[in-house]
Assembly symmetry: C2
Homo-oligomer: 991 residues x 2
């Protein structure tokens, strides 16, 4: 109300480097609460999607308001002004992408004002990552990266006071245990969210189970984190939305026939009393905000001011309700001080159902090519980061290009981006943005490789269409080509390399001029049949390469054609090969048999086990309803709702067999829009299924969801396993949940879970594992059976906001998607072990290929490559990147789930990086681990959980101090599944 009271303050002295941790700055300014009252923490917030119905820039600038009224620049403009007017007011800012864009546009005066607000806890960051990432379809590596990005920004601008201590995942459609674990490892005190299976929520409302302590890892001991479920979505109480986007009545306290103070206060007190019954403590948190609210913050605050005043005025008449502006950290601060216990939680919050027919399991697969593209983006991002460190690229342009890719990847993690639940136009903008960021970052890779090899004028071009076996470089060049392979893994890796080629006759040589055996295989018919694909490269050259970090191979064109393509046998166009009507495909590790009459796979032999495998493609018809009642819910971008059951598509398929030396492939022609290559490589202990689906026909007016299914005789007793964001596996039981009896009206989609990396099942003897190449929905609907959803094309919206049917098209027809599933059969173990994780790593981050025109094989400047040889086999290099100009971040991960503690010495690495100092940090990389102080809470039946920071996170002494260290002090110990993050300060930078 007061325009100038607190405005004209120029902050002259402001300490950014206060030695307080995170939101402690704000905690000092937390509101005073009252004993024996219901203390209502009003938390003003705006949920600003980093793209959804509009693109990120449309949201930021407030354009295209016809689609949705939203303009984030104005939210921040007006919120800051309103906060400055009254020191009691609070606001939490969540998405750092938007904040950083806005902050950069402000002049120094405004920036100083914002600094003051943050220092005083009036503007608090919650969440704080670049975007509010999804939890089902993201990969943990990208989540960590985008938290690093956001938290580093906040640290750079605001110091410790800018660091969030609360996870604010209020909108994602289900919640992963890995996300909670990441929060714990970043030192967050708790997380809040708003979506949960509706039966679960109902029960928790009744049992005061809305707030709990979540043990977010089976392996990591200090992974308990306070987790709170919001009462009324993330919205203001019904009738109390004072935003311009709402139609609720304002508080009318003037002399007016419409004066409504008494009535509004009564309503609010009634609401608070009812709500507080579902919560254990005398404190409740009431979010005051919603999607893109506070664009005209004056309206919100003016009315909240009045609400607070008039509700508290009632205390003089005996009311026991005390309401005030607060923040999640102040709320949790109060809970933390209470001597009470909280319920336990161990599993995750998938799948999310909002009513009996709305299981939000469709988005696990929606937009499969986008889901893959963002994984490619991550792959290239990690590649460029490593190359940039190796080549010490620190120019402004290089930093900016890398930063752009980092930001694009942060945006892609948003819960309406990687989820595929955005509008089509927005999806295109995401693609445009990521594509541009990748193309720009190619300059970094090229400049790095010119420095890291002696091919100083090499093009080092990436080919971004390798997924359809097209590379303009190999296609258009009559020259010989050098392919430079970059291995992101800590360990030397041997992998098969495939390169689309034009003619049939090549010779491959390595850096020493030795010929590397290679062969040429045909590109499958369905790829060749793609419209708008150049058909110059109808084959792929295959050879096996071993790469420590960087290796070069020369591919020379030979005059006469090779003969190995002749090894192609077609079925059933030719007569059956033998009386058993069987085709056997076999190498030294794997043996497959096919029924040549049906064209289908029959058995797989590997690891000494033989298992009958019926592999099929099937379709679910998408339910089409008007979304009026729950039972009329359509299958859509969010919701998977099949209309009937699985319908098998490949009862009889045509097959061709390519019987190569190093690779053997069976090409299946399932129907006009589905084909598959089943592939085994010599020496690779897995079977690769490369599927190609699309355009899904809809001429019959039926939307379709396409799945791949593997049926075995394994007696899995309803149990199967899926990964959590690519890390730990979770046990799933068909038709069951850990803490409640689910509504299984949707028996199929209600059993779908997110599969980011793998899904498996086993009995006492055999385990079968599928490794996929992008996030998909998956399940096991019958014992022995595993299923992944590959592609979806639907004709109806599911009425959860996106307002469009998920009907992706390209070149005027349905979108084609192509991808790989790897299958591994092995002995059963008590729980899924690390063997599949090893393979998964290579699948996730195979060698990145760079192409240059050259007639000679370049060599690598080995002296620029650090030494990773001390890394134990199961320890991986999760991150290796420039953290700031003279700081390198290294993140190491032990991905053995059930092994022992491993130790290794990183001094060689430290040394080869010209290390000067080193310290350990929280998972995100921005807070010294010694500064981390997480809240401890008491659990029902367990009591206080002892903090294990001293044990688990304590840095080795030398690492956190400044004195000269002895090499022997650089031993790093990793318990199973542990990730540790270190910052190495380089000595070649002078201050």
């Amino acid at each position: 109300m007061a325009y100038f009271s607190s405005v004209p303050v120029f902050i002259t002295l402001f300490l950014l480097n206060n030695a307080v941790s995170g939101a402690t700055c704000g905690i000092k300014a937390c509101p005073v609460t009252k004993l024996n009252m219901i203390n209502v923490h009003l938390v003003p917030h705006s949920h600003d999607d980093v793209g959804w119905l509009k693109t990120v820039d449309q949201y930021y600038y407030g354009s295209q308001n016809k689609i949705q009224h939203a303009g984030v620049q104005y939210i921040l403009d007006t919120v800051v002004e309103e906060l400055l007017k009254d020191s009691k007011r609070r606001f939490i800012q969540v998405e750092t992408f938007f904040f950083s864009k806005w902050y950069a546009e402000q002049n120094a005066t405004v920036q100083r004002a914002v600094q003051k607000l943050v220092a005083e806890g009036r503007l608090e960051f919650a969440g704080g990552a670049w975007s509010m990432n999804d939890e089902a379809t993201v990969h943990y590596q990208s989540v960590i990266d985008q938290f690093n990005l956001g938290l580093k920004y906040l640290n750079d601008i605001f110091g410790d006071c800018g660091r969030p201590t609360i996870g604010w995942q209020i909108d994602p459609f289900g919640h992963s245990r890995e996300m909670a674990s990441i929060f714990a490892q970043m030192g967050y005190n708790g997380e809040f969210f708003a979506r949960m299976d509706y039966v679960d929520k109902k029960k928790r409302l009744e049992d005061q189970g809305m707030e709990m302590i979540w043990q977010s890892s089976e392996s990591l001991k200090d992974s308990h984190i306070f987790t709170g479920m919001l009462y009324n979505h993330y919205s203001a109480p019904p009738g109390f939305c004072f935003d311009i986007n709402c139609h609720d009545a304002p508080i009318i306290d003037g002399e007016s026939y419409d004066n409504n103070v008494d009535q509004r206060v009564n309503d609010f007190i009634d609401y608070v009393k009812t709500m507080s019954k579902s919560f254990r403590s005398t404190h409740i948190m009431v979010p005051m905000g919603d999607d893109f609210q506070y664009e005209e913050a004056a309206v919100n605050y003016k009315n909240m001011d009045k609400l607070i005043k008039y509700v508290n005025d009632r205390q003089s008449k005996g009311s026991q309700v005390n309401v005030f502006y607060s923040t999640p950290s102040c709320y949790l601060h109060e809970l933390h001080q209470l001597q009470q216990t909280w319920p336990n939680k161990t599993e995750d919050f998938f799948p999310y159902s909002s009513d009996s027919h709305s299981y939000w399991t469709g988005y696990f697969t929606s937009r499969p090519t986008q889901k893959r593209f963002h994984r490619d983006g991550n792959h290239f991002f990690q590649t460029v980061k490593q190359l940039s460190v190796l080549a010490n690229l620190t120019s402004t342009r290089h930093s900016e290009d890398l930063e752009s890719l980092s930001q694009a990847m942060g945006i892609m993690q948003h819960h309406d981006a990687v989820t595929g639940t955005e509008k089509q136009a927005v999806a295109r903008d995401y693609d445009r943005m990521l594509f541009k960021a990748i193309v720009d970052a190619e300059n970094n890779a090229r400049d790095a490789l010119r420095s890291l090899t002696n091919l100083t004028s090499g093009e080092f071009e990436s080919c971004l269409e390798l997924n359809i076996s097209v590379c303009s470089f190999t296609q258009n060049s009559a020259n010989n080509v050098v392919v430079t392979l970059v291995n992101l893994l800590a360990h030397t890796s041997t992998q098969y390399v495939r390169i689309p080629v034009k003619s049939d006759n090549y010779i491959v040589t390595d850096e020493k001029g030795r010929e590397i055996p290679s062969e040429v295989v045909p590109v499958p018919w369905q790829v060749l049949a793609m419209e708008h694909r150049s058909n110059d490269t109808q084959h792929e050259l295959v050879f096996e390469a071993t790469v420590e970090k960087i290796a070069n191979f020369l591919i020379r064109v030979l005059p006469s054609p090779k003969s190995n393509v002749q090894n192609l046998i077609h079925f059933p166009t030719e007569k059956a090969l033998d009386e058993s009507d069987e085709l056997t495909v076999e190498n030294s590790l794997v043996k497959l048999t096919f029924n040549t009459t049906t064209g289908g796979l029959k058995t797989i032999e590997m690891n000494g086990l033989t298992e009958t495998i019926d592999q099929s493609f099937g379709v679910y018809k998408g339910f089409r309803g008007n979304n009026g009642e729950a039972k009329n819910r359509s299958s859509g971008a969010y919701v998977f709702r099949p209309d009937g059951g699985f319908e098998k598509l490949n009862n009889k398929v045509g097959i061709s067999f390519y019987n190569g030396t190093r690779v053997k492939e069976v090409h299946q022609h399932v129907n006009e829009w589905i084909s598959q290559v089943i592939r085994v490589y010599q020496g690779d202990n897995r079977v690769e299924f490369e599927w190609l689906v699309g355009p899904i026909p809809t001429e019959d007016e039926v939307g379709k969801e396409i799945v791949i299914r593997f049926s075995s005789n394994i007696s899995s007793k309803g149990i199967f396993y899926t990964d959590s964001n690519g890390r730990e596996m979770l046990e799933r039981e068909r038709n069951q949940r850990d803490t409640f009896n689910p509504d299984m009206s949707e028996a199929i989609s209600g059993n779908y879970y997110p599969v980011t990396g793998q899904i498996s099942l086993q009995d006492d003897e055999v385990r079968i594992t599928l490794l996929n190449d992008r996030a998909q929905g998956g399940t096991s609907l019958k014992d022995g059976e595993l299923e992944l959803m590959l592609h979806r094309r639907l004709l109806n919206d599911d009425a959860f906001g996106v307002g469009e049917a998920l009907n992706e098209t390209q070149y005027g027809t349905g979108l084609i998607a192509r991808g790989k599933v790897s299958l591994i059969i092995d002995e059963a173990s008590k729980k899924p072990n690390h063997a599949e994780r090893l393979v998964q790593h290579e699948i996730d981050q195979p060698f990145w290929k760079f192409f240059s025109k050259s007639n000679r094989v370049p060599s690598v400047n080995k002296n620029m490559i650090p030494d990773f040889t001390d890394f134990p086999p199961l320890v991986e290099l999760l991150s290796f990147e420039q953290h700031s100009e003279d700081h390198i971040l290294i993140r190491v991960e032990n991905f053995n789930t059930n092994g022992n503690v491993v130790s290794f010495n990183i001094y060689p690495l430290f040394s080869s990086l010209s290390g000067y100092k080193i310290w350990e940090t929280t998972l995100d990389g921005n807070m010294k681990l010694g500064d981390m102080k997480r809240y401890k809470f008491n659990q029902d039946g367990i009591g206080s959980i002892p903090s294990s920071v001293e044990y688990f996170y304590a840095p080795h002494n030398p690492m956190s101090s400044d004195y000269t260290m002895d090499a022997s002090e650089f031993v790093v110990t990793l318990v199973p599944m542990q990730i540790r993050t270190f910052i190495i300060q380089q000595k070649n930078i002078v201050y």
Copy 2:
């Protein structure tokens, strides 16, 4: 952009009493313009309807946003903040109702800031009346009052700097000449509006006739006023609406794929260049605003700042466009400095058509009972004001109650209130508000009359249902009743008084105990048949009263019934009276003949003339369309669009004849929902037609518009006359306009004009005049024929925003309306003369009746009644009211249109009011006339219009100075139609 740059300014020295006139304060701060460029004056404004789709308080507080997003409190909150940020920014505030409500809620700091903004011309008041009044259906007395109210408020708060100099009538649906004249008489430099017949506008766009000099009075010489028609309604250029209510793109100047600066600047410059072709000067005014815009002013200003910056940046590349924040007064200031001439305009801007089938002539009649109620409100308001002055009521409560009524009347003048174009719920709220204000002000009247008479405990109750012949006071009381009559006119008046009574036998005595002849007449059947009307009073007592200012009459109940009701003759239930089948109704001045077979009027004799008059009721069917194309426009609240022609309803009607001594009445029973009383009073030179229409049936799914028509043999040659807001008459010619060839696709509604007080026509010998009791639409579709629309009930919306069909109901059935039309036949004159105006005055403001229980006739304290006897016969007392605690405002009007200058001495009045000083003011009463300095403009073909202020407005010397004056110096001279306003400072107040 700068948050603090100009904010922390505390104004310590601020002179409210600068001796500058009106917006001169702002003129000093007008933007610097550039020669040889198109200078674009951006005028930020918000058009805030004082009620329309929502009630005034809903608009103010921003409740019911589901109906329309609008909250004026936030507009003013945020605009003031934005203005404080940058001294270049401007805003005009128009509706003083909203401003005053907001200002009262602000603390001293904000109020000081607003004072600063006004003083510096950054916040400028335009219009400045309580509301932006309609121009078709208002009465000039109420317009002047509501300008007095608004301008007085602004003067009290801001002194001279708050005084508007520009009329801002941007939304009313057509423009009256009287409104322009009022602006001129208030000293305004010009007025702007946005609605004009679309053919007229098209022509003016082509001819550079958008801006003109309007000679707004035939009688008043100094009535020329600059008048500007806006180019694109009152909206921002298409694509440049930066308001939260719009969907136009913001200016995106950041590093973004969506950056649109170049494109937006190109578009703006293109627009400006095209627009400037329609205007004569190098300046153009571009309003930046629309209905209820600027709720989030930061959005508007942020984008306008950018637009201005980037458009002007183009000047360095040769652009000739210069754009800046401005105000209408700055714009007109620039035009005034130019040496150029402007087109002339003499007539008015009615009717308004927006396309070939949309004549906005329905609202002339829409909501007939509301239109009447606001006239009753004015009547009572004038009564209470006069009584309050006479009794010297100055207590806070009395002031507040009077102020409430003043404000309610100000609100009622709004162009969606008195027009009847608001939603039904809003109409009810207006009624509630005005009713409450009247009831509250009754206290004032009672307290005044207790002081002005010796009936110190009298109830002095007003009966507000006299229009349906009900008065709870006379109905429920067994006592004798005193009726106190108050005459608002300057001159003693003799009128007939009608009082609903219960039984049949009364005696009326005056203050001296003399019996006054009276008789009792029956209430017509249709009134008696009304549901929800108490039937206790089935008669009305009629007597003639002569009142100087206040007079009391005692009505005593006599034991035995009177006999005069027996004089009732029914037709055609009885046999015809004579062979001619004629009924003659005759008194000393008027003679009517009726055809007893049809029940219809045949002839009227008066003033020595006999004229055949066929009087009928008729219906127009309301056109029903989907409003998609112009030809599908429905008849609605705004638009009158008949589907076919006039259909006569009374070919044969039942009649009854009451043959009284003082009053003779013919009661006509037209059909089940229309009836009429045709009445002549002894000594009254007119015929009164009291019509009663409703409930209009709609069972046939046809909306109906009911008209009353009078057909004569007068050869009017297409010419007829209608008044302008109750003052000067305008000549109309059927199917013609003064400056363009109209589109007469709608031949009926296109000839409708607003009739606030009278409509007439004549030939060389005879003139026939109709005087109505509320604003109505009227026309003359054939020579000799006059028509008034009485009532409308429609089933479709006309799609001009109100979103409802005009389908008024009451008690579950269609609304019943009752009213009077008086007819006068007289000798033709060159133009309508003052005779009808005299009658009109008595019709508009007859004696107000107050009722008290008493057995004796009270007397009036004559010493408290000032002396008006010096007033010439044709000079009327237009206003007589307290202006402030010790200031009395007197407004006198010469309503002779074609007579000579009259002079009279007001010293007796000055003296009896204990006058100490006196000065003349502008029409509104708030600026000393000597301070008025209006712009002079040159007209095409005429050149400079000499200012006649010295002649016309010059105050007599003594009046504008402070020394003691001689009585002889108090002579007031009035030219025809002149109104002069004086403030008398009373000496009994000590300073």
